[in-house]
Amino acid sequence: MQEYCLEMRGINKAFPGVQALDNAQISLKPGTVHALMGENGAGKSTLMKCMFGIYHMDSGEIIFEGEKIEIKNPAEALEMGIAMVHQELQPIPARTIGENIFLGRYPIKKLFGFIPVVDHDKMYADTEALLKKVRMDFDPRQMLGELSVSQMQSVEIAKAISANCKVMILDEPTSSLTHNEVEALFTIIEDLKESNVAIVYISHKMDEILRISDEVTIMRDGKYIGTWDAKDLTNDFIISKMVGRELTNLYPVKENVPGEVVFEVENFTSINPHSFRNVTFNLRKGEILGVAGLVGAQRTELMEGLFGIRSHTTGTIKYLGKEMTINRPKDAIDSGIAMLTEDRRHSGILGVLSVADNISIASLNQYLDYGIAINDKKIEALVQENIEKMDIRTPSSKTLIKSLSGGNQQKVLVGRWLANNPDVLILDEPTRGIDVGAKYEIYTIIADLAKQGKSIIMISSEMPELIGMADRIMVMCDGRVTGFIDGKDATQENIMELATKFE
C-alpha cells in the first residue's frame, strides 16, 4: 500500500489577473487529518476545487492510489471517492433536507421490475439515520430553506459524510457552527479517521487545527511553503509561516470608554412565534456589545429584525432617546445604523459587480458632485484606502467580487460598512472565514471605531473572540435574552451556561 492515497504535485492555475496556484502541492495519508492553511486568497479553495474537478488546472498532476488521474468534473471526483464540503454553501432551499443530501445519487428502485424510480422511503430513512449520526434531529422532509445558515452547514457536512468517500475535503466547515456542532463534527472526523479516510481540513481557527490535525500544509500566495507534523507546531510558528512575518498579539489593546446609552431596544418580538421574543437591551456610546448563543438562538433573526430585514410585532427601538420606525434596511441606514449580514453570498456580495462598486454601494450619496453625478475619483480613493487598510487581495478595484477568495469578499463587505461611517454597527460573524492576520486588522478597526465613540454589536460563535473584544456580552437562548455578562468576567463556561438556559 502506498503511503499517500492522494497526491497533487506541481499544480498551476491562473485566473485573469492572478496566479492563484503557483506550483502548489499536497499529499494526503489515509486515516489522517491534513490541515491546509494560508491567508485569505492563498489558494486553498482553488487547490481543492482542482482536486474536486470544479476547476481545470493549467498544469500539474493528481495521483490517486498510485495512479495518475484526471478529474474533469465533480461527478468524476465523487465517483472516485472524493467528497467536499464547500466554503460557499450550496443549498437548494425549495427542496427537502433528504433531497439535498442525496442529490446526484438518489437511491433507485425498479417499478414493476424495470422502471427506475427514486426510492423515497429509503432516501428518507437513510437521511434520518444519517442525521442521527451527526446529532441533528431535523425532519428529513423539512424544506432546507427553513433552516438557518448554521443548520444548513451541518446538513452539508452530513451530505459529504454519507458519500462513503476515501478523501474528504472540508473547506471551512465550521465557519458558521457554534461550539456544540463543532464538537459533533470532531467526533465524526475521528470516526472517519478510524475508517481510513484521508481528510483535508481548511480553517482559520487555530485551536481547531492544533486539536484535530495530524499534518499541516501551509500555502502563501498560491505557493507551497511546507508540510509539518501537527504535534511539532505552535500557533506562532504557523502564523509566521502563513503571513510571512511575526504576529505578536491576537487582540488589539482596547481604549474605548463606553458612555451614555444611545440605543435602546424594548420588548422586541418577531412575527414568527419560534423566533426572538421580548428582547430588551441597550447599547452605550463607544461600547462593544458581544452577542453569544448556540445555533438557532435567533441572534441573527433579532439583528435582522432591528435592521428592518425582518418584521416584528411588538417592541420599540429608541435611538438617542427618540423612537424609530424601521421597516426596511434603508430606514436603519439613514439613521446611522449599519449591519454586516451573516450570509455573505445570499445577502452580501453583488457578484457580477466590481470590488469598487461593492464597497461604495451603501455610501454613494456621500460622493456626489452637484448632488447628482458620482465622483469616481473620490470613490477610487475610498476603495484604495480600504484595500490597503484591510489588505484585500484583489488584482484591481475593477475586479469582479465573485472572483475574490471567500475571506477577501468578507473584507470588502466590512469595507462597505466602514465607508458608510455609521454610528451603530451591527456585525454578524464579522471574522467568518477571515485569516488570523486579517482578523487582527478587523479587530483593530472595531476597537478603533469604539474608541471614536461608535457603538458596536458583534455576533460571534467564536467565544474567545467575544471574550477578547466585548465590553459586555449578551447571551441568547432559543429566542430569549438569558443574561448579560461583563466582558472582564466572561468565560466560556458562564457563557455556555446562559446559552443553554432553555425554558
Binding site: 474536486f52 465533480p74 450550496q90 427542496r95 446526484g104 427506475p116 424510480v117 427514486v118 412575527i271 418584521s311
Partner: protein
Amino acid sequence: MEKVKSFFKKIIDYLKGNPIVVILTVVSLVVGLTVENFFSFNNFNNLASNTGVRFLIALGISGCLIIKGTDLSAGRIVGIAACITAVLVQRADYASKMYPQIPEMNMWLVLVIVLIIGSLIGLINGLIIAVLNVPPFIATLGTQTIVYGIALIFTNSQPVGGYQKVFSETLSAKLLPIGKYPGIPVYVLFAIVFGLIFAFLYKKTTYGKYMYAIGGNEIAAEVSGVNTKKSKILIFTLAGFMYAFAGYLLAAKSGGANAGLGQGYELEAIAGCTIGGVSTTGGIGTVSGILIGVLVFELLKVVLQFLGVNPYFNFIVQGLVIVTAVAIDIRKYVARK
C-alpha cells in the same frame, strides 16, 4: 366524525390558498346558471379538448421554466409540426397536394416522424443552451425565428388541408359514450396520459429531481455530480417532443394547418404555468398546478365567449386575469419574514 372535519378543513385550506380556483368556479357557476348551454356536454367537451392540447404544450414548457429557463420557440415548433403533419397526411388524390411526390402515409407513421422532428428541434435548443451557454430566452428566440422561416419555406406560406379521412376521423373520435354524454374526446385522453407520465417523471424519477435541483441551485446540482448539461438537453428535447405532439393534434383538430399556426402559444403556455404556480425564479411547479393554470385560461376564454364580451375587451380582461391571478398566487411564495 373527526376525519370528516379534517377533510373539510383541508378543502377549505386548499381553497384559501388558491383563490383563483374559487373565483373561477364562482364565475362559471354564475355564467352557467344565467347563460343557456354553458353547462352542456358539448361545451364541456370543447373546453376539455382545448385545455387538453394546451396542457400538452404547457407540460413541455414547464420543464424549461422550472430550470429557470424559458422556451420562446414552443409555438413555432407546434406550428411546424402541424404543417409537417398536414403535408404528410394529405390524400394522394387531393387536387392541390403540396408535395405530390410524397405518397399517402399511415397517420401513425406520420406521428412518429413529426415527433422525431420536434424532438430534434428541441435537442438543438438544448445543445445551444447547454453547450454554447446561450441564455434560453435568446437561444429560443433565435430558433423560433429560424423554425418559422423553415415552416414558411416548407409550406410556401399556403394553408395545407385535404387530409385522409381516417386522420380526422380517428382523432375527432369520442370514447366511452354514456347515455346522453357523447364520450371523452381523444385529445383529452392524450392529455390525461401525458399528465400522468409527467407527474410520474417529475415526482418519481431522477429526471424530475435533477430538474428541480437545477432550478433551485444549478451550482449545487453541478457540484453534487449532476450532469446538468445532459439534464438541460433532455428537458428541451422532451419539450420539443411535446410541442410536436400538440402540433400533430392541432393539425387534426383544426382540419388544416399553416405556418402561422401556434404563434404566441408559448406565451399562453407560460402564463398558464405561472398562474398554476410554476415559479419563473426556478425550482418550483407541479403538474396539477399546471393543469389548473391552463384550465383557468381556457375556461376564461369560454366564459368570455359565452358572455359575448366585445373582442377588444377580451384582451383587457385576459391581461387583468393573468396579472391578478399571479399576484394573488405569488403571496404564497413571498417569504413572510
